[in-house]
Amino acid sequence: MTSATPDAPAIRTDGLTKSYGRKRGIIDVDLEVRRGEIFGYLGPNGAGKSTTIRLLLDLIRPNSGTATVLGQPAHGSAVRLRREIGYLPGEMALYPRMTGRELFRYFAALRGMKDLTHAEELAERLETELDRPIKALSHGNKQKVGLVQALMHKPSLVILDEPTTGLDPLIQQEFYRILDEVRADGRTVFLSSHVLAEVERIADRVGIVREGRIAVISEVETLKRQARRKLEFHFESQVPEEDFLRLPEVVEVRTDGRILELTVEGSVDDIIKLASRYTVLNVLSREQDLEEVFLTYYAAPEPDEHADPPSDSDASVNAPGPSEPAGEG
């Protein structure tokens, strides 16, 4: 895949802001997506994911800030850029009376593409129904047609808005394999999702968007490493819980006499050393999955209670501000 500016990041936005009316849109979104990575753009419905994506594709224009895609301004070079981009819209609609095969032929013609082998290959792997009118297809089957058209021209950058909606689990696995291959090919994937497990499974990095603002951008691994853990000690006799609470890594202590349940952030070294002064019968450790990481960012600031987002070293965390516009998702 060739690009005009091969060294530039796949996507870069600076202070990207778009508001529609009072309560929807995105504010000051700074993103950088590297070439060859799978970037997961995570947030609940209405957080501004589709707004961001549609700005990248020049379907809508920002109020302020800039978006650069493959080294080119998103607005100024939209047509040239789209040769190298594959896009699956969220809440996509297809031409109901066309078949999947006809749709691929149409879009291939608009792209000046003659060879549809790759489209057929992808369609086969995703078990796509190609010869029935799209209006007769189930939601999941329509989604497959949408995915194939986004990938069939081997774009340098694949932008997928909620790609796995409606796909059954086996097809999802195949789809993840296809994305792995796209990455192995040095191409870039930017996908939005509200499903953590999905991003955890396939993405290299994740950006969490919340009410129109970026809450955090991080390596998926880092995020997992920083995640709070639950440590559960079973002691032979009762222990003073205040001693544990005094340790900076301990966020929360719950005790049931001889069982101590700690919520830990960061290193467990001091905790283990402290615990070793007593007779430990058992230790259980459970890593928080992204679902809970996610909840720490989202459960956080409702109007008056100020909860603390996990502080950290590697990940860039913007303290999520209260009550800012949220987009349509």
Binding site: V79, R80, G86, E91
Partner: protein
């Protein structure tokens, strides 16, 4: 048919076009076939001569028994231009706003095609649709006309058909402009149809009101019909008003479409 946006749009519209063609040709064939009966009806001439001039002015024809007068009063004076009006408005309103409301525009614009190209190809599809409808109108009038000895000038018939197509293009261009700049098909159909019907009414009523006859010249209908193309051939100035006006609307549609957010 799937090589370009234009041909794909025509392909999508093929069923609708077929129905339009059937309806239009049914209407014209029936009208032409009735002509001999009207012409030869005893006492018809006297009846018409007895009508007051004001009534004849309202009908817009003083010579209802000649082939041209008959066709003008029965077809080209009202029903044909209104059909071309609605065909043009439906095509123009659906061109961009239709894809937008069906939520297929995001997908179309994800391809390397500029918004200018989308708008122009859609406009071209509308023009081709109008031309096809015009061809059907000509055939379905001329051939039955031969069968009933109507003695029509084929070129003058071409002139009135072209005039109707230009009127449809003007109004369709207007609807394309409204839909392309607003994204609302309903608004485009509503404004387009309202403007078209107003154009018809102004053209026929303004001349009857003392001091308001100049108003007629603001009506696109005037440029379609006033020069009586079925008798006199195409008036180049009147045809140009409609053609250039339609092109300007398309141009504004392109500008409006390029500048705005789509699909919000």
């Amino acid at each position: 048919m799937l090589r370009t946006i234009t041909t794909k749009t025509l392909r999508d519209g093929r069923r609708a076009l077929l129905w339009w063609a059937l309806g239009l040709s049914g209407l014209t064939i029936l009208t032409v076939a009735t002509y001999p009966a009207v012409r030869d009806m005893p006492g018809m001439e006297e009846l018409l001569e007895g009508l007051p001039d004001a009534i004849l002015a309202l009908i817009g024809e003083s010579d209802l028994l000649s082939p041209e007068g008959y066709l003008n009063s029965q077809l080209f004076g009202a029903i044909v231009p209104l059909l071309f009006l609605f065909f043009g408005v439906a095509a123009g309103a659906g061109a961009i706003a239709g894809e937008e409301e069906n939520r297929t525009l995001d997908l179309l614009l994800a391809n390397p095609v500029s918004r200018t190209r989308v708008a122009l190809e859609k406009a071209l599809a509308m023009v081709i649709g109008l031309v096809l409808l015009g061809a059907i109108l000509w055939i379905a009038t001329y051939l039955p006309g031969l069968a009933v000895d109507m003695d029509l000038d084929p070129m003058n018939l071409v002139a009135v058909v072209v005039s109707a197509c230009l009127f449809g293009f003007f109004m369709g261009g207007f609807a394309l402009m409204v839909g392309g700049s607003s994204g609302s098909r309903g608004l485009a159909i509503g404004l387009g149809a309202a403007l078209g019907v107003a154009a018809y009414l102004v053209n026929s009523l303004a001349p009857l009101v003392e001091g308001l006859d100049w108003l007629q010249r603001l009506s696109p209908f005037y440029y379609y019909y006033e020069a009586d193309p079925l008798r006199n051939g195409l008036d180049p100035v009147h045809a140009a008003v409609l053609g250039v006006g339609g092109l300007l609307f398309v141009l504004v549609a392109v500008i409006g479409f390029r500048r705005r957010d789509v699909g919000v």
